[in-house]
């Protein structure tokens, strides 16, 4: 080997290197502002680039790291699958709770009762604009549904503060200043902020006063996620523990979503309730529901990540206890726990229209004990909707169809038990 002039490392030096790398860029954001050079190029910006971001646009810059061509499955912090890795018939690969933006590129064409139908990928999620990555503006909605936010401005930084200035202080309040951010606060394993320090807010989400294109957030929602969160749920579920907090710089989850979608919020509008307690009837049904025709479940093991709820707690320690991926925390809701937007929708994108967690375009989500597909249930194209059985299973985060009833009805029934 020729290059002895530079840093020469051998396996024997691994111990020393451990010291050298500790605290380096693995986490990158570390709950706050990351290394500037990871996103900005101070001396060689693109012609016409803004903010010295060399990516064509803000979201393309984020996806420089958060998408990686060559992935073979869920991969840590990747939230999008490259075009090269998802040919026709292959589902996007990532399984984060927010969902893989790659679903936005999955158009499906199928024929139902003689009528050819196309389900556009853009109906599957938030249409971030990332030109370098092939993500384009929503062609159907000029503004956020139920609001005025312009669709042609939608980017990762519409919801996330790229510099991660919002922090949770030792007293539990959210602030943009007050103490240095020492690490992420998103994970079950994240340390609680000690006096004089702070941790980042959940997922660097936008907080009070964060303004983008005419909308201003009024707080940060509370949540915790398992440290290993981008994973298949074929064996165990990934439980994101959503909380309910509205004081001290916090916002409840759906109130936060309503920053851009105000008329989708239940206050004064004829829409499904959100940010409201489930009540004892719904909570009881959730606990009893196993699958269509089976109400023999027990509340202690009734949690379903395809229909999560917000735990009525602002205690991050309690939320961290619930945020597990090993099925050790499957307790269902109490009557004061809340339904929220994310009970039915994923935040980024899903395999289904309206970024729903399940296919709501038909009465069944399974057919004769299998996931519907052009290959598995060719006689029922209305349920496959152009997907292969494998794609359908991927959209349910790889659960076996036997998780549900042979003819499972849509998952509205997890709370409403009409089946």
């Amino acid at each position: 080997m020729r290059n002895s002039k530079k840093l020469y490392i051998t396996a024997a030096c691994a111990g020393l290197l451990t010291l050298g790398f500790t605290g380096s860029a693995f986490a990158f954001h570390s709950g706050g502002v990351a290394e500037c050079g990871g996103c900005h190029s101070m001396h060689s910006p693109a012609a016409g680039g803004t903010f010295l971001l060399v990516g064509t646009d803000q979201s393309s810059t984020c996806l420089s790291c958060h998408e990686h061509a060559g992935d073979t499955g869920p991969s840590s912090y990747h939230i999008s699958t490259a075009d090269a890795d998802m040919p026709a018939g292959v589902a996007p690969l990532q399984r984060t709770p927010g969902g893989d933006f790659g679903w936005l590129k999955k158009d499906y064409t199928f024929t139902v009762r003689g009528t050819a139908t196309t389900e556009l990928g853009e109906t599957h999620g938030h249409n971030i604009i990332a030109v370098d990555k092939g993500y384009a503006v929503d062609t159907e909605n000029a503004n956020a549904p139920g609001g005025t936010f312009p669709s042609n401005q939608l980017a990762c930084n519409s919801c996330h503060d790229p510099h991660g200035k919002y922090r949770r202080l030792a007293d539990g309040t959210i602030s943009k200043t007050g103490a240095p951010i020492v690490g992420s606060g998103s994970y079950d394993s994240s340390a609680a902020p000690a006096a004089g320090s702070a941790v980042g807010v959940y997922r660097l989400l936008a907080g009070a006063g964060y303004t983008k294109d005419g909308v201003t957030y009024n707080g940060v929602p509370a949540a915790k996620v398992p440290s290993s969160y981008n994973r298949k749920e074929d064996a165990t579920q990934t439980r994101t523990a959503y909380g309910v907090a509205s004081a001290g710089g916090h916002s409840t989850w759906s109130n936060w979503c309503s920053t851009c979608h105000p008329n989708m919020h239940s206050s004064g509008n004829m829409v499904h309730p959100v940010d409201q307690g489930l009540g004892s009837t719904i909570a009881t049904l959730y606990g009893q529901y196993v699958k269509s025709g089976d109400m023999t479940g027990t509340a202690a093991t009734s949690f379903l990540s395809l229909a999560p709820f917000a735990t009525n707690s602002s205690d991050y320690t309690a939320l961290a206890t619930l945020a597990k991926n090993d099925n050790s925390q499957l307790a269902g809701p109490g009557s004061s726990d809340q339904v929220m937007c994310l009970s039915c929708h994923r935040a980024h994108a899903s395999g289904f229209e309206y970024m729903l967690r399940w296919n709501n375009e038909g009465e069944f989500i399974t057919q004769n004990g299998v996931w519907p597909g052009t290959d598995t249930t060719p006689a029922a194209p209305q349920f496959a909707r152009g997907r292969t059985g494998a794609e359908m299973q991927a959209a349910y985060y790889d659960r076996p169809a036997t998780t549900f009833a042979t003819y499972q009805r849509v998952l509205c029934n997890k709370c409403h038990a009409q089946d």
Partner: protein, 314 residues
């Protein structure tokens, strides 16, 4: 003036001049010229981040994209394609052996498999990996390379590399987490990119989250270089990496949209490319490949396809 001071200043000036001359010489020695983008009879093929590999004996380039392997000749024209009708899983990468046989790396949801096909891409046999130690048994390779009878398999996500012989028998394995001294808890968040080989079988790769590029010898010795930053020669998000016939290392930076060139001693020489619409500009370059005539192939995003440059050395 104090004679010693005068002598010191003279020496300093001479040293600076030599340094400048040395730098200019390096700049003069390396040059790149944009040739064309890989094309077929309908025009430039609009790939986004296709995976590249080269048949160094025939100087053909293989492009893997959405389960289709397309072969381009040394003029950048498509001459053959295969893969879309194969039932071996999702083709991730290919490598070519001396006799023209093609090694196909495929993934079928649960595991990686290696197949040997003829020059037309028709699979002839599956190469079963044998005698893998437990720490490599569950490896999901997503990159493959070939050198002098040995097959290199790399898992970028798991940060592992194994070398097997032509029949799949284990020769050696490398756990980069251990070699680089990265804490085990950070394995999932680390990952490497740009896996390639040089002519001596040294393994080249980048670790984007560390802003470094590395050269790993078959003996397990590793050299890492690079610092974060936007200045010329520094790294933003580094991905692909190759070495040219003169031993110069070329590293793709997909955020900077540039190819960063270092000489064989890892001294920075120059950058080229940069975002733009002109010929020779690059948009988010990622995978790199280089043939025996020093034609550099650069895979880009935004459906910009694969740009080809000719490297010269003064």
């Amino acid at each position: 003036m104090n004679p010693n001071l005068k002598k010191y200043i003279t020496s300093l000036l001479v040293a600076i001049c030599l340094l400048l001359l040395s730098g200019k010489q390096a700049l003069a020695q390396f040059a790149e010229g944009y040739l064309y983008n890989l094309s077929n009879f309908t025009g430039v093929v609009p790939y986004s981040w296709a995976t590249l590999s080269v048949d160094e004996w025939q100087n053909e380039v293989y492009v893997v994209y959405q389960n289709l392997v397309t072969v381009f000749n040394d003029n950048g024209m498509e001459v053959h394609s295969f893969g879309d009708s194969l039932d071996i899983g999702h083709i991730l990468d290919v490598a070519v052996e001396e006799n023209g046989d093609i090694l196909l790396l495929a993934f079928n949801d649960t595991k990686s498999s290696v197949f040997r096909s003829n020059y037309r891409g028709e699979p002839r046999e599956e190469i079963t990996l044998q005698d893998l130690p437990p720490e490599f048994a569950e490896m999901h390779a997503n990159r493959i390379a070939y050198r002098e009878g040995n097959i290199y398999l790399a898992s970028e996500a798991q940060m592992k590399i194994v070398i097997v012989d032509a029949q799949g028998r284990f020769i050696k394995g490398f756990d980069l987490i251990r070699i680089m001294g990265i804490p085990e808890k950070d394995r999932a968040d680390a990952g490497f990119s740009g896996f390639n080989l040089d002519k001596n079988g040294n393994m080249l790769f980048t670790v984007p989250v560390l802003f470094t590029a590395s050269i790993l010898s078959p003996a397990g010795e590793i050299v890492s270089f690079g610092k974060p930053g936007g200045a010329p020669g520094k790294f933003n998000i580094v991905v692909g990496m190759v070495v040219d016939s003169q031993g110069n290392y070329l590293v793709a930076d997909k955020l900077k949209c540039a190819i960063i060139v270092f000489d064989k001693d890892l001294n920075f020489i120059k950058e080229f490319g940069y975002r733009g619409e002109k010929p020779g500009n690059l948009v988010a370059p990622e995978s790199l490949a280089i043939d025996s005539e020093d034609r550099l192939y650069v895979s880009q995003g935004r459906k910009r396809g694969v740009s080809v440059f000719k490297l010269t050395h003064g």
